[in-house]
């Protein structure tokens, strides 16, 4: 277990070091997500009044789109230098590589969310500070569910010719339950009177999805990555 965690940590640290040097993924995903929210703000906010419940949906759409972009780019780097093969050769359990890559993606998505949440609060008048812990919990659970499947699919598709098209085609249908749960849970706490029991229900559902998706991904990563 210690070795598993060490390898996951080393891979995550490497990914973040590479990203700190290039800042390619952070800049592109933040810019893309912010543009997305801005476009929706122009479409859905009339005379300073946003459409009811729109803020939660916009937040999660922007997270999903930006997350897909980050997932694709993270593995594109490994494909470009063929370094994924070197990772697969490491004398460790291969799921540790998966966990390392997943942690790297989660950190990047957390940075994007740190920009998105205040933007949505500002442009859609969403009460993002009304229940900050609930919002953080929903975002954390939803992001983990989305990224766990996304990391597996992005790794699987790394050698596919049409990987850029295939990734969203495969990822969105599978992660729709996560996105719906995230939207409904977030909408519950964005109401004028936050509905905590409803938020708790959707958060519990997200945790359930996380457990299922992470377990399945850890289980299938090695056979899927062996050519």
């Amino acid at each position: 277990m210690k070795q598993f965690l060490r390898v996951a940590w080393v891979v995550m640290r490497k990914d973040l070091t590479v990203e700190m040097r290039s800042r390619e993924i952070v800049y592109t995903t933040v810019f893309f997500a912010a543009s997305c929210v801005l476009v929706f703000a122009f479409a859905l906010v009339r005379e300073g009044r946003p459409l009811e419940d729109a803020s939660a949906g916009i937040l999660w759409i922007a997270i999903a789109f930006a997350g897909t972009l980050a997932l694709g780019r993270t593995f594109e780097r490994e494909r470009h230098t063929e370094t994924l093969r070197a990772l697969m050769l490491a004398p460790s359990d291969r799921p540790a590589i998966y966990v390392g890559k997943l942690l790297g993606v989660l950190v990047l998505m957390a940075i994007v969310e740190a920009v998105l949440v205040p933007m949505v609060g500002l442009l859609f008048h969403a009460p993002v500070l009304a229940r900050p812990l609930w919002l953080a919990a929903l975002l954390a659970a939803g992001t983990l569910g989305f990224a766990s499947v996304g990391t597996l699919f992005a790794a699987m598709l790394v050698r596919a010719r049409s990987r850029d098209v295939l990734l969203p085609v495969l990822l969105y249908p599978i992660t729709i339950p996560v996105i719906i749960a995230g939207v409904r849970g977030t909408a519950a706490i964005f109401q004028a009177t936050p509905d905590e029991p409803m938020a708790r229900f959707w958060a519990a559902l997200l945790v359930f999805f996380d457990v299922v998706f992470v377990t399945l991904s850890l289980w299938t990563f090695e056979p899927l990555m062996t050519e």
Binding site: Q3, V7, K14, T17, R21, T81, E82, R85, A86
Partner: protein, 250 residues
Amino acid sequence: MECDFDRLVVDDVSRHFGRRRALTRVSLTCGAGTILGLLGPNGAGKSTLLAILSTLLAPTSGQVRYGTFDARSAGPGLRGRLGLLGHDLYLYPELTARENLEFFARLYGLRHPRERVGRALAHAGLADRADDAVSGFSRGMRQRLALERALLHGPRLLLLDEPFTGLDDASGHALVSRLRGLRDEGAIVIAATHDLDLAEGLLDDVAILRDGRLLAVPRASGPLRERYRETLLAAAPAAAAPAAREEPAR
């Protein structure tokens, strides 16, 4: 689990990609302290065979045995005894030479990674460029660094795909001496190469592949280039002629 071994046996290995046969019933044996040259024209199946030996690719049929182990049962322990220098160098261009080696040293769980990396950088002749990003290196410098990456954990089986690519004369000869040193220490080295001049005198044994099949190499002494050409011509005179004319690098 540490999986050391002193013999590599490739037994009737075939690999198909859809309808294309990349390797057909290849068998060979290699003992510790041997350098085996894997020769053949482009598309002969050399890289596929190296990928199978490195456990990255599973054979369609047949098996590879590393002493008493096989890839499926030994897993991580076996991978810790393999080193691969592929045609792609498996280096991160955004990281410095030192960071690249330290990353792999930590990935392999090596003790005293800084000391090992320092020695590896000295071996590669890159001690003075250790803190420069790899993206600024020439192909030859990257090749030297990639070789050290493959050797960092002291592998028993070293698999090299075109190891002389991009190396100048001095670096090429330094690599030859390094490989001889590894052979003397008991490593099994398998090198796929087109550079027969540098390989001449280095290889203990030669395996020639063409169209995924292993050809019988005459035991007779003589220049490696001649033996290579004769083997290809003898295998299938009419079909082999274009392949034989595809001269390996001089």
